[in-house]
């Protein structure tokens, strides 16, 4: 009997639940402006989420998946990315999309049931949200392969949930990323639930980070409510990928404080007590506590920021609600670069029939 391979999974936390920096922190963690900028993105994301849910409740938006409680993962990951990198989000990464330059209006247009919302004016090469869980992981490998073939120092960043790690295509994508040493960073946004299925029922693996061991590359775990740790781990993984070091899987431990979506009722399957406990660890309050203690963040600044974010959200909502509807024939016009004769006929039939 001999041992032929050994592995270990590290866990990182820099900003503790009490808002204090633990261990050694990266320079940006001491930069007040940087921290305030990150804080602002998180607050804006939460305000956007709340508004989107309100719009759905009043029939002005389709089904929506709130990211409340997961802002640190979204913002930390996206903020670490370079503009030329490509983001492949799931359906719960609004914050990351905002940081990337997708507008709140575009997000609302998409969740309002209009494909134009995925025609981002900003990050033209970022992928639209991915609804079929995990199916964007192979795309991320393909995007990363494109960068590698062109010798571009760019990285594909693919975010998916804890449930997604059970999908075979996510495994296949990680496996090829490993064997081809592709410049891709996989983020498992582990909010502990896949609709009603808890993390423990998803897999017997002690951590999701160790899924990377099967693919032959590094998997690590971070406190997903610690934006400093998330941003730092992502930055390290991006840097490694850019330097040809291949992929990394980062499991960010966080919690879905809200329902799965606006059509879900989480009280059917989880108790408020658990949710209440998790509220004590949520990322925004944690950073606010730190800003107050370490950088004199005060009531005035806080109120100004909240007001500014609310105004931005209102403006975007207004722009969304006044967006001209798309004409019905639009459903034909982007099916092919050039519409085949048969579809030209059907398009005419659609118009004739009105």
């Amino acid at each position: 009997m001999s041992t032929v391979a050994t592995f270990e999974i590290r866990h990182d936390r820099i900003l503790g639940p009490d808002g204090k920096l633990e261990g050694e922190a990266p320079p940006f963690a001491r930069d007040r402006d940087k921290l305030v900028a990150l804080y602002r993105w998180m607050v804006l994301t939460r305000a956007f989420d709340a508004k989107a849910v309100a719009l759905q409740r009043t029939g002005r938006l389709g089904t929506f998946a709130s990211s409340i409680g997961q802002e640190a993962v979204n913002i930390g990951v996206a903020d670490a990315m370079a503009p030329e990198d490509v983001l492949l989000p799931s359906f719960r990464e609004h914050g990351a999309q905002l940081v990337r330059g997708v507008t709140m209006r575009e997000l609302l247009v998409y969740w309002g049931g209009d494909e134009r919302g995925s025609d981002f004016a900003g990050p033209r090469e970022d992928f639209p949200v991915c609804i079929p869980v995990g199916t964007h992981a192979p795309h991320a490998a393909g995007v990363a392969l494109a960068f590698k073939l062109r010798n571009e120092a760019r990285v594909a960043v693919c975010i998916f949930g804890d449930g997604a790690t059970s999908r075979g295509d996510v495994y296949e994508a990680m496996n090829v990323a490993g064997v081809w040493a592709l410049p891709v960073v996989f983020i498992s946004n582990n909010n502990q639930w896949a609709i009603s299925v808890p993390r423990k029922a998803q897999t017997a693996a002690e951590t999701l980070a160790q899924k990377a061991i099967a693919a032959g590359f590094e998997g690590r775990q971070v406190d997903g409510n610690d934006i400093v740790a998330v941003r730092q781990a992502t930055a390290e993984a991006l840097d490694k990928a850019r330097r040809g070091g291949g992929p990394t899987l980062i499991e960010a431990l966080t919690y879905r404080l809200g329902d799965h979506t606006t059509v879900d009722d989480a009280s059917r399957y989880r108790d408020d007590e658990e949710v209440g406990r998790r509220w004590k660890e949520e990322p925004i309050a944690r950073l606010r506590t730190h800003l107050a203690a370490a950088h004199g963040w005060g009531k005035a600044e806080e109120e100004a920021l909240i007001a500014a974010c609310a105004a931005e959200v209102e403006e975007a909502t207004e722009a969304y609600l006044t967006t001209e509807p798309e004409p019905p024939e639009a459903m034909f016009d982007h099916m092919y670069e050039e519409l085949p004769a048969e579809l030209v006929r059907q398009r005419a039939a659609l118009l004739g029939q009105e």
Partner: protein
């Protein structure tokens, strides 16, 4: 494992049920009758299914028989094959049809041919349930109608109920059937109407079309959610004295062409209505049979009123994609011009 009849906990008898309630009742009934029936799927346990089709079943039958699977559709297609080969009758749920594609490998390569490839030594009495179709303003990828893909696969049965009573009777038949059945539920109808359902365990045949309205002028053939639009169209036509006969295909595979031919022999005209994209939709098979065995009965072209050959749009344009009673009536008017 020996089939054991468990005494019924359900207060049998008639009740006004929605389609999704009827599905739940049929599942409960089948599980009581036969302890080899077990349910697999995402969120079917404590949550009772995202549409509540398995509501309360985990409390009644336990977590062994009502199993939340990991989020893995290829697995949901393949696990039942092993269970069925060992004598169970698994009923697996795919949460939305847009997520059903990973099961195709297992369904085509294994479930549909296990009996044949072992010359009857092993078989695969499984049911794969999935809500299909549009009309409820669901998110992207949630509103597909891909029944034609399954209807092309030898070795399967493909069933689509259009009403609560049919859902109950056809699902029971599907679960009791010794071969694999794809059971597609029109989610748009899940809560749209109530119907009296006699919950006494009697099944409906899996090889029969149902005539839901009699008429002599034109035959309207449809299935699932589109029955509603089709019947509305028939009503509108009746107002102008046009009597449409309306057939609910119900079981697409095997197709009961006799009933359709019989009607067309009478009317000479046929319109097929489905929500799936026109090209290669299952309406093509029915129209093809009419162009064959049925040709001599046709006095007018067979028209298919179907979804466009486009991606099912997001909710804003969804209504423009789905066949409407108006489109059906317009088609009927065209075929009535032939004498």
């Amino acid at each position: 494992m020996a089939r054991r009849r468990v005494k019924s906990e359900t207060s049998a008898g008639t009740g006004e049920l929605t389609l999704v309630e009827a599905v739940q009742r049929a599942l409960a009934r089948a599980m009581e009758e036969d302890e080899t029936v077990i349910l697999l799927g995402e969120d079917i346990g404590v949550d009772g299914g995202v549409f509540r089709a398995t509501d309360g079943l985990i409390a009644r039958f336990g977590a062994d028989r009502v199993r939340d699977t990991p989020l893995a559709e290829a697995l949901i297609g393949g696990l039942p094959v092993g269970l069925a080969a060992m004598g169970f009758r698994p009923v697996a749920e795919i949460q939305f049809m847009g997520f059903i594609y990973p099961v195709l490998d297992q369904i085509v390569n294994h479930a549909a041919r296990l009996r044949n490839r072992t010359r009857g030594r092993l078989s695969c009495p499984m049911v794969l349930r999935a809500p299909y179709g549009g009309g409820i303003h669901a998110p992207e990828h949630h509103s597909e109608s891909m029944e034609a893909m399954f209807a092309h696969i030898p070795g399967l049965r493909v069933v689509i109920p259009s009403s609560p009573a049919k859902a109950y009777g056809l699902l029971l038949a599907a679960i009791r059937d010794p071969d694999p059945v794809i059971f597609l539920e029109p989610k748009r109808v899940y809560r749209a109407t109530r119907e009296a359902v006699v919950d006494e365990g009697s099944a409906l045949p899996l090889d029969r079309c149902f005539t839901v309205r009699d008429g002599a002028d034109v035959t309207l053939v449809s299935w699932g959610a589109m029955l509603k639009e089709t019947l509305e169209a028939a009503e509108m036509l009746a107002g102008d004295g046009v009597e449409a006969e309306v057939l609910d295909v119900a079981t697409l595979k095997p197709l009961d062409m006799e009933t359709i031919l019989e009607s067309v022999r009478k009317t000479g005209r046929c319109i097929i209505v489905h929500e799936a994209p026109l090209t290669g939709g299952f309406g093509a098979e029915i129209a093809a049979r009419l162009a064959g065995e049925g040709l001599m009965h046709l006095v007018a072209p067979v028209e298919r009123v179907a979804g466009w050959d486009t991606v099912m749009p997001l909710l804003r344009l969804e209504g423009q994609y789905m066949p409407s009673p108006q489109r059906i009536v317009a088609a009927v008017r065209r075929v009535l011009e032939y004498a």
